[in-house]
Amino acid sequence: MSGAPRIDDWTIGAETIVYQSCAACGATQYFRRSFCAACGAADVHDKRASGEGVVYATSVVARAATAEARAHVPYNIVLIDAAEGFRMMAHGDGDLEIGDRVTAGFRRFTDRLVPYFTRTTS
């Protein structure tokens, strides 16, 4: 809903993962919009994610496209199924495997802060 408080997330430099929840149909979405992509309702609310999830897919990048990214090679790009029901792209430890339970932290990558997942310890 327009006027609903926006929670700052990692895409603008805050150490937080944010998703949206639709009050009308209950759908969750990760990419921020002013409406629900599932039902079209404008009644969507920002929510803070727990940072807990399961590894869905992984790809270790050995050949980066920019000089800035090349300084970090190799880095593991992962898709995470978050506990709250949305999927997100992030970085993670190089040895993560599909199905691993993981917890989010944050690291510098080029000039940005990015979510970084490691195996859940507890």
Partner: protein
């Protein structure tokens, strides 16, 4: 009805000094001559895009350059699916009586016209600008993610994927226009440099210069006609993060729609031209389209099923993986080769009976799909 009446294809690889318009013109000339037409008989033009020469009205720029004044012209952009999407549109335009001869054309000096980094960067833009791009992904990484999950689900191995690279190279070895013609083995693919796991260099198509074109007409030109029997699309997502279902990427959906139009089934198919930007792309599309069971496409490659003398010859020009990939023209080469095979003009690469062909292209990260059935008529 509509027919693919003429085809033109340049060699792929390095075309030093050739611009996007040069490569488009060369392919267009070949296609128009092949259709037995004069260029002033072309009354419709559809073209793709060029990352090297971005323009807001490339079809008009091309028509002006080429010296024609069509009554219908514009560009189309659906990533790797653009070639087949343009063919589908040409079919619709011709059937509607809007134009008689539509020239479908693309070309790009993607290899020599820019740095390798610029090429990789331009393409990575299919990712989400806020939620994906800051993580430093590349196109191979998007497909690497898809591959890791698909392999996990269906027990596909890296050696299985390598089979597709080996097959495409074996086919390219017999085409003088292919960018890479030296035969390779599964061991070569496995030993090639890591790019984005599980994909290695030889799992990825190259960046090429080249051009491709064809003419879609209301009437057939030669004795043997290649008729568009049915074509359809599906668009299920844009980003790898938002792929709704790794088992049904959209290929089966577009195929089903094309089948309904054409009254043909996959069992009728005697030749296949399938998008192969990466080995995983080919494996997944073959399996989702039903040309092989889930996890079984590599075994069919090993059995010779997709070889030139097999039951369903596949990408006999070498595909994107070995003929090369110059952008929109890359997947158009699949259709050019299919037309040659169906009209019995493939020379040393000729298959025995390409009576019915299935073409499938995808753009983005298996995001946009176009399926097309072609039928030989005499």
């Amino acid at each position: 009805m509509s027919f693919i009446t003429g085809v033109g294809l340049t060699s792929f690889g390095r075309h030093e000094g050739a611009s996007t318009l040069d490569l488009m013109s060369r392919a267009a000339e070949l296609a128009i001559a092949d259709a037995g037409l004069q260029r002033n008989e072309i009354d419709g033009v559809l073209c793709g895009y060029s990352t090297v020469q971005p323009h807001i009205m490339l079809a008009t720029v091309f028509a002006e350059h080429f010296g024609i004044t069509p009554s219908y012209a514009h560009a189309v952009q659906v990533g790797g699916a653009t070639g087949l999407a343009m063919t589908m549109l040409a079919h619709i335009i011709v059937e509607a009586g809007v134009a008689r001869h539509v020239l479908v054309v693309s070309g790009e000096n993607r290899l020599t016209g820019q740095s390798r980094d610029a090429a990789i960067q331009a393409l990575a833009q299919v990712g989400h600008p806020s939620y994906e791009m800051p993580l430093g992904p590349t196109i191979p990484a998007y497909y690497g993610l898809v591959a890791s999950r698909y392999m996990h689900e269906y027990g596909v191995t890296e050696e299985d994927l390598a089979e597709f690279a080996v097959l495409m190279r074996a086919h390219a070895a017999d085409h003088p226009g292919a960018q890479f013609r030296d035969r390779i083995t599964v061991a070569d693919v496995m030993a090639s440099k890591p790019v984005a796991s599980p994909l290695k260099l030889l799992d990825c198509c190259p960046v090429s210069d080249g051009g491709a074109a064809f003419v879609v007409s209301r009437e057939r030109a030669g004795e043997t006609g290649v008729r568009i029997r049915g074509c359809a699309q599906a668009h299920t997502h844009q980003y790898v993060t938002t792929i709704p279902n790794f088992d049904r990427m959209g290929a089966a959906m577009s195929l089903q729609r094309a089948r309904a139009q054409s009254d043909l089934s996959v069992a009728d198919v005697r030749y296949a031209g399938i998008y192969d930007s990466f080995t995983i792309t080919l494996a997944m599309l073959l399996e989702e389209l039903g040309l092989a069971g889930r996890g079984e496409a590599a075994a069919r490659v090993r059995d010779g099923h997709f070889s030139r003398d097999g039951a369903v010859p596949l990408n006999t020009h070498g595909g994107l993986l070995s003929y090369g990939h110059c952008g929109v023209g890359g997947a158009m080469a699949h259709l050019v080769e299919t037309q040659l095979q169906m009209t019995g003009r493939a020379g040393g690469r000729q298959v025995k009976d390409a009576a019915i062909a299935l073409l499938h292209g995808d753009g983005g990260v298996l995001s946009s799909h176009v399926s097309m059935f072609l039928e030989r008529v005499r």
